[in-house]
Each structure stands twice: as structure tokens, then as C-alpha cells.
Assembly symmetry: C2
């Protein structure tokens, strides 16, 4: 590689970072995340701690990252604060122990929070790149995330140049950053495949402190196989959307799909791909998973716009081996654009996200296990859900062999209010909540979505509380959760009358 | 008046309405609401009921209306369902008794819900107008609300021509309706005073069944005088915004203000008007109240865009007596545009809304008294808050002579999650929640916003529950509410350890 920037080892790069500094790392999911420098920072932190010196840094990313970033830094106990999202088991433990300050944010908001100065000055941007030119033009790898904003706002830049990613990726990114109010103009995206920006991020080369060579693959885990439950959820979603097309609620052209991450999402996309009445469609989403690549190969998905290409290594190699056939069918955008309320509402996205817990009135908990423990974060679910043409939440009706009902009298934490939730789907069926008042919503959810082993209990709760616009009992609202904590099985719940 | 449409009496107009039909009425607050026809429909309903025949209609409006619409129809027990917002005492009682199906909606979403067919076909639009031409060009009065969508989508139209409103109102409305996806383009508003549409609503004159003459004033209630508490809230908000300007978090041009409705909002606007460091500003809001007119007269507000001109009758007469001096300084838009996430985020609105209840983690209840009883509805607070440059919620720290703390361990109903709430203000001070994790938010809110008579109790709850990312106790989360229901005073709360 020829470049005018100092080539550093990971340790040399890490040595430039000082205690108390704030770093914006590339990465949106493990895709495109910085890897070797954060791991070296963790080593440096341990050394400093061993020497009796304080060493903690503020860690900002696009979303979650991989174990060599969040995992290593958490295990080294050197994260001063963390935002906007994470999914690492060690970091999660530290957050839930109250040791790491974590603030959960709508992902579309993070970049403007940085620009507006709400999180203070950004000392460093540490970004994985496929290439960097002497003029400071940076070709990103498998995600865009918030990297363009970090690169623009940071005082200093370190780059991990990762040669696993070919320079022919040029053209797979669309870099656009809105101006700050009062100078912002419309984001000119009117279709999922509209391009509005540059192919690379342009930075002042003077800010680039050094370059570290890397060859580490993205740490994308494999997915669990499709199960009977997730297949049934997928089929219900596909049937529902086909019916909405049939009754004219959806335009005949269909609309772009946003789909959350994970096994249920994979099953839903699979079912949509197989449904004969659902036309070939576009994705306007956050995370492009293996299942989207399958749909592109089958020509069921004509175009996928996302923030990250979060695919397993064999799938990524397959794409790189045949890159030209994906050109014009895959595009990576900043999270501020992919998740932007303006664009989501204009395009009329059909949003499909997974709930951790729902209540009988259609409120959703996306983040907190038993109300207290942070799982991952709200991610982009709020950005898409609130502004969707139709917003769908999915979840298996039970967890832990039926000992937990995913549908409860009252969510133990609330991330999406009834106003944002139009359709709830479990393996048992679909509750269409549009135009229904709270009592009607409860009836539809209990009848269509709740597991049979919990229907009588939830019916009993609902009858017990029948008062006011939204019936509820302060004493019994969390009876399911309290029973689970005591006995390990929500089915043992008894309500106090 | 010369017009080609049949002139009907209110009773004749009401006689055209059939049981089970769905009506979209003009009105956003009492401003511009249909009045004489809905009152006549209520009379007709009573007659039908007395004759043993069923008579109920679906009632859709822009937001709340006045007593001659929601009040009369509720008292006549003829509302089959109601959306998206209300504030009438009789209707509220019927909703909370479970007699009227009410579904609460983000106000920006209502028009597209109608267009997409999610609420079924619309039989009637019944709209107050200042004038209607033979070609079907309708000049609205003191609100736009969702009237353009109702007029376009309804099969048949009845118009209340109200001559209290001068034809010279032409030019005070900006009528624009987005296309449905996938054909929607950017809403081209880049400043609060941008005009993008027509001055009148154009309809097919064939759909106009008749015109009813009216001379009824808008039923806008007077406001309570400013109190010591609301004055202090107002001063805290003004001081906070001045400090944000000073530290560079807000641009030197300042940004447009959205302000909720009511006495706290009036006090906040008053305080902003008086603050020497806050520049002359624009409003991009929903409801233009008396206090905005004061600010325009003082030249502290240079322009106000809203959905309704909800001013008391003497203030409205003052505007009409001097209409030309307000031309170019007041503009009324459809709620779909005024509240649109796209425009709110682009302009960088500073949103200021009132909370009914907040919890120590910064979640907000805007709608339900003690979790069960619907007060009014979420209105536009979600549209603005989620997309604001800075979102502020205000409330007096206590209610009912201190027997209720507005800040509780857990909201009894949740409308705005922590993710949408950046700043909380009571008469005691300001909690800036940006970049804080839940424990830090709780500390800031308890210290700065909670009434001293509740600080120890909330501190005790917080210590009791210190576990997980968001500490909480299923047993004690609603102890404040349960204590109030039992003893009438939340200060009597004791927590079970």
C-alpha cells in the first residue's frame, strides 16, 4: 500500500489514546467495526490499570459491534460511557451491574446528537476502511453507520485498512450528511434505490494520525435454523401482507420492507420470498442479513438499501467473488439516512420488528428483560415503526419452554407505545390493532396471539380490571412477572380480586 | 350569498345522515369546528333513539372540537367510534365508561390513515367554511386540521358557511396534501414561513349536498391566569434555552418553537418573550393561542405557522379588525404538514409540551389519569417530541395541593419513552437528560424537578431497587398511585423492603 500516512502497529495506535477521551468507532453490527485498534486499546487499558493509573474512554459507535471492540473494552473495564446500542455479553453484564453508563438511543438520532454537541467534543474517529487516498478519501467496508459523522466531527482519525475488502467496493456506499438546522434541506430520496451522495467519505487528511493494517474478518455470528414457531410467524406475516395487497390497503406496486435482525426476521423474509401473491420487492432497511442475499439471488428482492452488510463470512466471500452482479442491487447508507423519519415516511416502509414483550393493549418492550436488565437497546425499531406505512411487531408467544408469556398484562418496560404498533403477530396468529380502542385491542391480542396456556389468565386479568379507557390494576399489572421471579413459571399466576 | 348549492337548515342537513355512517368533521380544537350541523345530528339521534331506532355515527375530526360537536353528540349517545383526540367532559365520561370506542392517534397520522383506507370509507365531510365558490373552492375558517383530506376522501359534503369569518381570510391557509407512497415526494418546506400549497381546498362540486348558514363563534375557552408555579416553569425554560444558545448547542439564528396548549405553555411563551437573550423567533406549531398573538404584537414572534388559530373571541375580533397587519405573519396548515416528522426534524423544532405525569427515568404519561382514565389524548406531542432538535416536557411538580406528585417511580401509562424526552422542567428546575443513563436521569430528576416533599420518598424507592440498567420494583412501582387511591395523598406512601 502506498499512502502518505504513518503506518502504525495496533499498539502504537492505541498509545495515542488518552484517558477520558471520547472515540467514535466505525461499526454497525459487527460489520465494518474497528477491530485491531480497540483490542489494542483494551490491552493498553489493562496496563494502565495495573500501573495504578485511571484509563477509561467514551465509546460511541453506529450500533452494536463485535467482541474485539465491545467485548474487549468491557472486559478491560475501560468504557466510561457507551451509546447508542450494544449486544455484547460482557458489556451487557457491565451495564446491568451499573458499572458502565449506557444510554439507549434511536439510531437515526446519534449522528445529529454528535453534530449538535450534545455529547461533548469527539476526540477520535477510529474507522475500518477498504482504502484511503492521499487526499483523505475513505472507502468504507461493510457498514456505513455513523462513520461519516465521526470522521467529520473528530479532532483526530485512526484508520484500520482492511485488505479483506476489495477496492471494487467503490460504488456500494452512498455517503450523505444533512446540514444542521436552520440550513437543512429535504433528503432527496424518493425510492429505495435513489443515490444522493458520494461513494467515499472525504476528510481533511491532516486529521489522519495514522493507518493500521488489518486482515480481520467481520465477527458476524451464524443464525439459528428456522423453527416451526418462526416459520409460522413468517407465514402469518406473509399472509397478512398478501391480504392487505388484495384489499387495497397496500398499493399494487407494494412497498419497501424494513426487517429487524435475527431468526424471526429471517423466517419472515423467507416466507415473503415464497408467497406467490407477494410481488418482487425492495428492502429499505438497516441490516442486510444472509436471508436478504438469498432473496436477491432468487430475484425475489430487486434491491436492498441498508446501513450494514451483516452477512456470515462465506456469504460475504460469495458476494466478493461475484461483486459485479450485486452492483446496483446493494447500497449502504449512513444510519441517519437509512433510518430517517423523513425518508421512512415518504417511502411508506412496511416495518417488521421483533418484540421482547408485548402487553394486551399493544405496547411493546424491545429492550429490558423483566423490566430491569438491558438486553441490547431500542436500535432502529423506533425510527422505522413510528413512521411506517404499516408497522408490524412479531414475537414467539412464549419463551423458556412456555414458562414466560411474551404477552403480559403490562409491559415491564415500554419502548413503543400503542400509538406506534399497528399489527402484532405470534405463531398463533395476527392481531390487527388499527382503529381499535384498548379494550378491542386486548380482545384481539388475547384471542389471536396469546398462547392457549395463558389465554384464560389474561382474560381473567382483563375482566378483573374492567374500568376506564385502558383497564388495569396497579396490584396485578406485574403479577405475571412477580410470579415468574418467585416460581419460575408465569402460569402459576393468581390474581388478587 | 350567491351559490349554486342547496341552502339547507341544520335539521335538513342532519336528516341526510344515516345510522352507521362515518363523518369527518372540520375542527382542530374548537377553532373552525363544525357546529350547527353536529348539534342538529344530536337532536336527530335523540329522535331516532326515542322512536326505538338505532342511530350512531363514526366521528373523526382533526383533534378536539367544541361542546356543540363532541359535547352534543356524546350527550345524545350517538358516537359509534371517535378518533384521534378529544377534550370534552361528556365525551370523556362516555369513553372512560367504555361506552364510546375511542382510539388515540398521533395527529399527523390521521389523514394518511383515512387515505390508506385503514378506517374504512368516509361517508361525509362536514366542514365549516368562510366561503365556497361554484367551482367547489372552499375557504376554510380558523383551522385546517384534516379538513382537506376529509373533503377529498368523503363521498358527500355538507358545508357550514360561517359569515363571522371574512372572505379576506384568503391567503391565511396553505393547503397541501402529500401523495400516497410509492408516489410521495419531499414536502418542500425549509422554513416556518414557506408556502407550498393552495389558498383554498378544491373539491368536486358534485359532492356538495348542501350548505348551511351559520354565525356561531368558535367555542374557545379563556385561559386561567398565570400563577407563580407556571411563571417559574416558564422562566426555567427560557433560561435553559438562553444557556443553550450561549454554549453553542443552539444555532445563533435560534430555531422555530412548537408549544403545547394551556396555561403552562402560555407562561413559557410569555417568559421567552421577556427574556433579553432570546432573539425574535418563529413558531412552527399546532395551536396558535392568545399568547402567540401577544408575541406577534410585541414583535417578539416574527411568524407563526399552525394548524389552528385557537384564540378567544375578543382576540379573534382584534385580528379581523386589523387583518392586513397579520398577513404574512400567520399561516394555517393541515395537521399532516404542521406535525409532519419530516418537516419537524428538518426545521429543527424546539418542542415544548406538557406532561400529565413523568417518572424518575424520564418517561412521560400524556394521556391517562391514574393509568386508566383517558384525559384528552396524545395529540401532536409525539409528532413533535420524537423529531425535535431539543424536546422539552414541562409540568408542575405536584397536583391537588401536593397530594399528587407529578413525578412517580413509574408512569401509570406511557406515551413518550425515555428516548424522546431530553429535558424535564418543573417549577423547581431543569433536568437535562441528554447523554445520561437511567440512574443518572433519576438522580437529576429527583434533585432538580421533584417537589421537596417527595424527594426522600423517591430517593428511597430508587435505593430500594438498585438493580439492573433501569432499577425498578414490581411491587413498589405503583405504590404512589395505590397510596393515593387508598388515602388521597401520595405522601403517605411506605415501600415494602
Amino acid at each position: 500500500m502506498k499512502n502518505p500516512f504513518p503506518i502504525l502497529t495496533p499498539d502504537e495506535a492505541a498509545s495515542r489514546i488518552c484517558h477520558d477521551e471520547v472515540i467514535g468507532f466505525s461499526g454497525f453490527t459487527p460489520a465494518g467495526a474497528a477491530k485491531v485498534i480497540p483490542t489494542a486499546i483494551a490491552v493498553r487499558a489493562r496496563g494502565e490499570h495495573d500501573a495504578g493509573r485511571p484509563f477509561k474512554v467514551g465509546v460511541i459507535t453506529g450500533a452494536s459491534t463485535g467482541p474485539s471492540l465491545d467485548g474487549e473494552l468491557a472486559k478491560a473495564d475501560c468504557i466510561k460511557f457507551r451509546t447508542p446500542y450494544q449486544s455484547d455479553k460482557d458489556l451487557r453484564a457491565s451495564i446491568n451491574a451499573g458499572k458502565t453508563h449506557f444510554f439507549d438511543m434511536h439510531l437515526s438520532l446519534l449522528p445529529q446528537y454528535i453534530r449538535y454537541g450534545f455529547l461533548g467534543p469527539l476526540d477520535w474517529a477510529i474507522v475500518e476502511a477498504a482504502d484511503v487516498s492521499a487526499e483523505g478519501k475513505i472507502l468504507l467496508t461493510t457498514s456505513v453507520g455513523a462513520a461519516p459523522t465521526f470522521l467529520k466531527q473528530a479532532k483526530k482519525i485512526l484508520i484500520e485498512v482492511n485488505r479483506r475488502h476489495p477496492r471494487e467496493l467503490l460504488g456500494f456506499h452512498d455517503i450523505y450528511e444533512p446540514k444542521s438546522p436552520p440550513h437543512r434541506s429535504p433528503i432527496p430520496i424518493c425510492a429505495a434505490d435513489d443515490r444522493i451522495g458520494t461513494q467515499r467519505v472525504w476528510v481533511d487528511p491532516e486529521k489522519i494520525v495514522g493507518v493500521v493494517e488489518s486482515n480481520r474478518p467481520d465477527e458476524v455470528p451464524g443464525f439459528m435454523p428456522v423453527t416451526d414457531v418462526t416459520t409460522r410467524i413468517g407465514c402469518h406475516v406473509a399472509e397478512f401482507l398478501a391480504a392487505e395487497l388484495g384489499n387495497g390497503h397496500l398499493p399494487k406496486e407494494f412497498l419497501p420492507i424494513q426487517s429487524g435482525v435475527g431468526n424471526v426476521a429471517n423466517a419472515v423474509l423467507g416466507a415473503m420470498g415464497e408467497h406467490p401473491e407477494i410481488p418482487r420487492f425492495q428492502m429499505y432497511t438497516e441490516v442486510i442479513q444472509d436471508s436478504v442475499i438469498d432473496l436477491i439471488q432468487q430475484d425475489r428482492c430487486s434491491f436492498a438499501s441498508g446501513v450494514s452488510l451483516t452477512v456470515t463470512d462465506p456469504v460475504l466471500q460469495g458476494i466478493y467473488d461475484d461483486l459485479e452482479s450485486y452492483r446496483g442491487r446493494l447500497l449502504l447508507r449512513p444510519q441517519e439516512i437509512a433510518n430517517n423519519p423523513e425518508v421512512v415516511r415518504r417511502l411508506g416502509i412496511i416495518s417488521i420488528n421483533t418484540a421482547l414483550e408485548a402487553d394486551i393493549f399493544g405496547n411493546i418492550n424491545s429492550t429490558h428483560v423483566l423490566g430491569q436488565k438491558m438486553m441490547n437497546g431500542i436500535g432502529g425499531s423506533g425510527d422505522f415503526t413510528r413512521n411506517a406505512y404499516i408497522s408490524i411487531f412479531t414475537c414467539p408467544s412464549t419463551a423458556k419452554d412456555g414458562n414466560i408469556s411474551a404477552i403480559v398484562p403490562m409491559c415491564s418496560h415500554m419502548d413503543h407505545s400503542e400509538h406506534s404498533v399497528q399489527v402484532l403477530v405470534t405463531e398463533h396468529g395476527v392481531a390487527d390493532l388499527r382503529g381499535k380502542d384498548p379494550r378491542e385491542r386486548a380482545a384481539a391480542i388475547i384471542q389471536n396471539c396469546v398462547d392457549p396456556s395463558y389465554q384464560n389468565l389474561l382474560q381473567e386479568y382483563f375482566k378483573l380490571t374492567e374500568n376506564g379507557h385502558t383497564p388495569q390494576s396497579f396490584r396485578s399489572a406485574f403479577a405475571f412477572h412477580e410470579t415468574f421471579l418467585k416460581s419460575g413459571d408465569m402460569r402459576n399466576t393468581t390474581f388478587q380480586h
